[in-house]
Amino acid sequence: MTYHGKHRERRAGLWRRRAWSVAALIFLTGLLGIPLLGLAQDAAGTAATVAYRDIPQLGGSRNIIWVIAQQHLLLAGFVLGVPIFAWVCEIVGVRTGDKRYDKLAKEFTKLLTSAYATTALFGGILLFMLLGFYPKLMAYLTDIFFPSFVVYCALFLLETVTLYLYWYGWDVMQGGGKKGLHLFLGLLLNVFAFFIMIVPNSWATFQASPVVVAEGSALARAWAATWNPTWWPVNVHRLIANVVLGGFICGAYAGMRYLSANTHEERVHYDWMGYVGNFIGVFGMLPLPFAGYWLMREVYQYNQQMGITLMGGFLSWLFILQAFLIGVLFLGANYYFWLGITHRIEGSEVKYRRPIMAMLVILLLCLGVWMTPHSLVASLEEARKMGGTHHPLLGVFGVMSAKMTVVNIMILVTFMSFIIYWRAGKQVTATWAKVAQKVMGGVLGLAAIVVIVLGVWGYFVPAIVRINYFSVAQVLIVLFVLVTITPLTGLLMKSARTTTEMIWGRMPPRAGYALVLNAVMVILLMTLMGYARSSSRVHWHIYGVMRDSSQYAYSPALGYAAAFMSLNTFVFCLLVAFIFWVATMGDKAKAGEPGTKKKLPAGAYPAMAGGSPTLDQREG
């Protein structure tokens, strides 16, 4: 038998063993799932006797659920977000023939596969905890949603099978028509992942915006409850947010690997991966505020009191914190772009210094306005001097009209950072380039002016006009800028001449830290807004339907909650670091084999000691 023949046989054997493992895992999951469903049904019968259970010695039921649910949701966000851009990267690899994209897509999927089991584990723990701590609530939800529980289990099985086929079949399905099958598996993975996300979303959104569930078949009742007013806004918001989370976490992973890279190849690869991760995060971040705005509109339309609790009640200061986090995220993402322009493209530093400074000033000013609270904490004497709790000047910036305006300006600035990065080191050659550039400049300038004019005008019109027309118009204008300038720039760049090659692997260590910072900001944001969504229900398990009569029916103050969010974020970061460390153990072992990779000389270490471009070039 030839070597290739043996290799094929060995591969087939390996494949058979993996197939058996997958089958066994599915069977086991199914076996585990059945008693869970039974438990859920049993809970309906016994709920009348016990409404709550608690373990005060471990911090109380609510805090336990808080930690477990948060870890599960963050992991789930990552696990559902990553397949989207892993699949897109694979398609780009196929279409361009660039093997780097395929390698990157595979690396993303490796992270996804290793995080998947932990996500399911936390999901299982969460379910057991909920059944134990909140039997009455779970009985009520089970009574309504039981058919969707079954659908959820089925989806999980399908997702697991598809993920294993997608991951373990990667190398086997590279050649010929098999790549098409692999891409189809990637599509299926995303379809199942999308449904896995929206099914539990219906349970959570029903708690926030329940509709009346009349009699009917179990399926009809479950569907009626599923189709509630905030279901789709949350679905869309979470879908985008998952991509952002996944992108920034992959970026942070690349940043970490870049900081600890020992070889030039590693530095080049992880610099590029960090760029792609940051790009995906920013790309998702731009439309995210619009999705959030839609969600808030639906909340207000569903129940004005809930909207007021969020925006004007005890949670109003939360949005100042949100502004701080998003502001830092915008700054971090832009800073990373600017570092890329100045370090990867030689000669760009001088050329783009002034625009970068201008963008930084605009971002800081916008952040200042966004973070200005509507009313200030002031002593009686201070309030008298100000003529009320609203500062005569700062009070003007504390209202929604100002905040909507600066958010849109920040999106435009971030978009411009990306466009500058895209165009840096290239010279346009198209005959229509001048006209196109004038059109793009005009569109951007005009859009900025109209956004500001609408923002100022918003002070002089009733709130309903501002919310329904002006804010929507601002959003549409910014979207218009994104969808006109992006394809125009793409067309221009197609025929552009490269004047300065982009050199990967030369970013300073602070770029790695910027990527980590962005990921931490996104995770904190998700924990913060999870607290907001949960607290907006105030003392209801299901808003207006089932009251929380436990000792934990209150919503804790923001400081206490923020300490918990920080703890959750820290635990999640450590968890992800551990999962990624385990997942990449094999790579490190391979890299350690003699002769596989070139070790950098001491002076060329980029991360801690500061890179030396001269040495890098010599090494390269």
Binding site: Y140, I144, Y513, H539, Y554, Y560, A563, S566
Partner: protein
């Protein structure tokens, strides 16, 4: 030491530990951990520096037959049920509303008899009062009127009578439901409630 002061102290310690790690430790992973600790500690300290307000739940209302002396007492309890357990306000408004998915109930106690209201609550499809058809464009989340006396809402007869009393009072009509119609709980039910 107050809870806020304690958390501030912990936050400061976390930031200080992060700074110490960055200053004195060279291991790359630990340096990143130190950096994350500084970021998270700073975030918590900022959150602890703004006004601290917890949202406390209002006192829980209980349907206690013993407290009902007059028809007005029944209406007061009915109002609470209308906005909570009965879930009426999930769909109905009292007065015109853009967001209400079902008919406006303002003045309904004057338009319909108590028997008709009772039938509408317990057998909603028995007869559709023509004034309460959906007019104009269809609502985004149409809801079919549920049987109020069955699960998941499952109001008791006493609770339904109280809601009717509220609807009549809210419409400026004399309340025709009398406290004498309230069913007293049996000894077995009292024992069960006490056991719970």
């Amino acid at each position: 030491m107050s809870e806020v002061a304690l958390l501030q102290l912990i936050g400061l310690l976390v930031v200080a530990l992060g700074v110490a790690i960055l200053l004195f430790i060279q291991a790359r992973f630990l340096r990143v951990v130190g950096f994350v600790m500084i970021v998270l500690g700073t975030f918590a300290l900022i959150a602890l520096s703004i006004p601290q307000m917890a949202s406390l739940p209002p006192a829980e209302e209980k349907f206690d037959v013993a407290t009902i002396k007059t028809s007005a007492d029944m209406a007061a309890i009915g109002q609470k049920i209308f906005f909570s357990k009965g879930q009426c306000a999930l769909c109905h408004s009292i007065g015109p509303s853009e967001s209400a998915r079902c008919p406006d109930l303002k003045g309904i106690g004057a338009k319909l008899t108590r028997e008709f209201i009772y039938e509408s609550l317990t057998q909603p499809q028995a007869y559709i009062y023509l004034d309460y058809r959906h007019e104009g464009p269809p609502k985004q989340y149409p809801a079919r009127m549920p049987h109020i006396n069955k699960n998941p809402i499952g109001l008791s007869n006493n609770e339904i009578l109280s809601v009717i009393a509220f609807l009549q009072q809210m419409s400026g009509e004399p309340i025709t439901v009398s406290p004498s119609e309230i069913l007293q709980p049996t000894a077995a039910a009292v024992a069960l409630a006490q056991a719970r």
